[in-house]
């Protein structure tokens, strides 16, 4: 196992970074090279390379990129301007500090140097204090950027892996297929964490008694901390015994299990329900989850009741069972807070906004003779992001459950 990259040392200057920095001095005049190298060495920089012409410089930079380049302009063959322009075309050297050191001092030379991508410009005869000050400033900047970038690379790699773990916790297309065949319930889903990881979690599972279990949870807060809870609850629910339990009973047990796990101020809202293919009803209980919306060809869109104490605050809570009828072909929309607590067209959308949107979409699809839950979810997400595709400030999960018309038994 290799050691972790050292934590960035933002404060306290450069320390090791500075004296170990690799500097390349390019000049066709040996005296200049000797002079500059001696100056740099005296200031504590030990790692100095030199090149007597542009070709040699390019060759060596390619082999081992330096941390800073001190580049003469007037050289036989390629000029310093050419070298600078060539290097800047290569993304690997886009941020390499290039200090032009030259006897040229006309305004157009300076302008030319900057236009080909020079970072800095010093005029010969060199002023030692100024040269060292400029070298130091560029190296410090580079070191800071490198350390911070390293932190970001390392952390985002970890978060990326964590994100794929989180996405794998959600029901796969295969599992949804099984659900559609066994229980006659198709599930379309959209999961958009507002940062790398989210505090939303949903799941489903066909039960042995023929019912389909579906739940949607939303942990308070967002980011990593809320996501941690989704991993725990996933591990917990995987082997949970739902058989023969009412939704309210199951919620109540889950609440008792979550109470010791969640610190003060953290909680989860949840909607948990069973779809019964025999009766066509969706019975559910809500711990301050959002109001489920039932809709369909023969069903005026309606919000179901959803009040209940969130999970994880106090133990021994009782919840209420509710029931929504789902005639064949009708749908049930479940969603996290973000679907109603987002500002749309400058005002808080709310349940009314979502309901109006849903009715509109339903009518639109019916007029077209289509039924496309995936399209509905895409359009819902687009509406919430607004015309300028603003990022959402909270995690969005939306599920559309469709009771299939032909239930295969």
């Amino acid at each position: 196992m290799t050691g972790a990259p050292a934590m960035p040392q933002e404060e306290g200057g450069l320390g090791l970074n500075y004296s170990n920095a690799r500097i390349m001095v390019v000049d066709d005049n040996q005296l200049n090279i000797t002079l500059i190298s001696a100056l740099l060495r005296k200031s504590g920089l030990r790692n100095i390379e030199t090149a007597a012409n542009s070709e040699e410089a390019l060759h060596r930079i390619e082999a081992a990129p330096p941390d800073l380049l001190l580049l003469d302009i007037m050289m036989p063959g390629l000029s310093g301007f050419d070298v600078c322009a060539l290097l800047r075309k290569d993304p690997r050297f886009a941020t390499l500090p290039i200090i032009m050191q030259t006897a040229l001092n006309r305004p157009e030379d300076r302008a030319h140097a900057f236009s080909v991508g020079a970072t800095d410009y010093i005029v010969k005869p060199l002023n030692p204090a100024e040269l060292l000050a400029r070298v130091r400033i560029h190296l410090e900047n580079q070191a800071l950027i490198r350390d911070l970038s390293l932190y970001r690379r390392r952390t985002s790699r970890e978060l990326e892996m964590a994100r794929s773990m989180q996405i794998r916790m959600l029901p796969s297309l295969g599992e949804r297929q099984v659900m559609a065949e066994r229980c006659g319930l198709s599930v379309s889903a959209r999961f958009e964490p507002s940062s790398e990881l989210g505090g939303d979690f949903w799941g489903m599972q066909p039960l042995d008694d023929g019912r389909a279990l579906v739940y949607l949870m939303d942990f308070s807060g967002h980011g990593l901390n809320a996501a941690l809870n989704t991993f725990r609850v996933h591990a917990m629910l995987r082997n949970w015994d739902f058989q023969g339990k009412t939704p309210a009973g199951a919620l109540s047990e889950l609440n008792d299990a979550l109470c010791p796990l969640l610190p003060s101020g953290q909680f989860a809202t949840m909607l948990l329900g069973y779809f019964d293919p025999e009766s066509g009803g969706f019975s559910y209980a809500s711990a301050a989850g959002t109001a489920p919306i039932a809709l369909g060809p023969t069903l005026k869109p309606t919000c179901g009741p959803n009040a209940g104490l969130p999970l994880g605050i106090v133990p021994n809570v009782t919840y209420d069972d509710h029931r929504l009828e789902l005639p064949p072909g009708s749908c049930l929309l479940l969603y996290s807070d973000a679907a109603i607590e987002t500002e749309v067209d400058g005002t808080l959308w709310g349940e009314e906004g979502l309901l109006d949107f849903t009715i509109g979409e339903c009518e639109r699809q019916m007029a077209l003779g289509s039924h496309d839950p995936e399209e509905f979810l895409t359009r819902l997400s687009r509406r919430l992001h607004g015309p300028r595709a603003q990022p959402l400030t909270d995690d969005l999960t939306a599920l559309m459950l469709t009771r299939n018309i032909d239930v295969a038994h």
């Binding site: 939303d218 308070s220 953290q266 909680f267 809202t269 959803n306 009040a307 969130p310 909270d394």
Partner: protein
Amino acid sequence: MDYSIDSAGEKTVIALKGRLTFTDHASFRDLIKKMLDAPHSDQVIDLSALDFVDSAGLGMLLIAREELHGRDAHLSLAHPHGQVRQVLNVAHLSKIIEIVE
């Protein structure tokens, strides 16, 4: 979120203003410290000027309740309206905190 604290009367009244969300975590922590130092064991958070609360904000109210409870103090919430009132109702918060309409 802005707040003001009034300890002049028989109770300490904390008036919240604006939006109480995830980003107010640090300032709400400070507020709780001030509430714990307030002279009255009977405290009211006045929500009449609070326009929006998200789940993190709700969590902060619960922390305030718990911390005051730990000092044998009593916390109630007063005059929620609009979205705030709706959130408190949906979360059945009146089961664990007194809410004065």
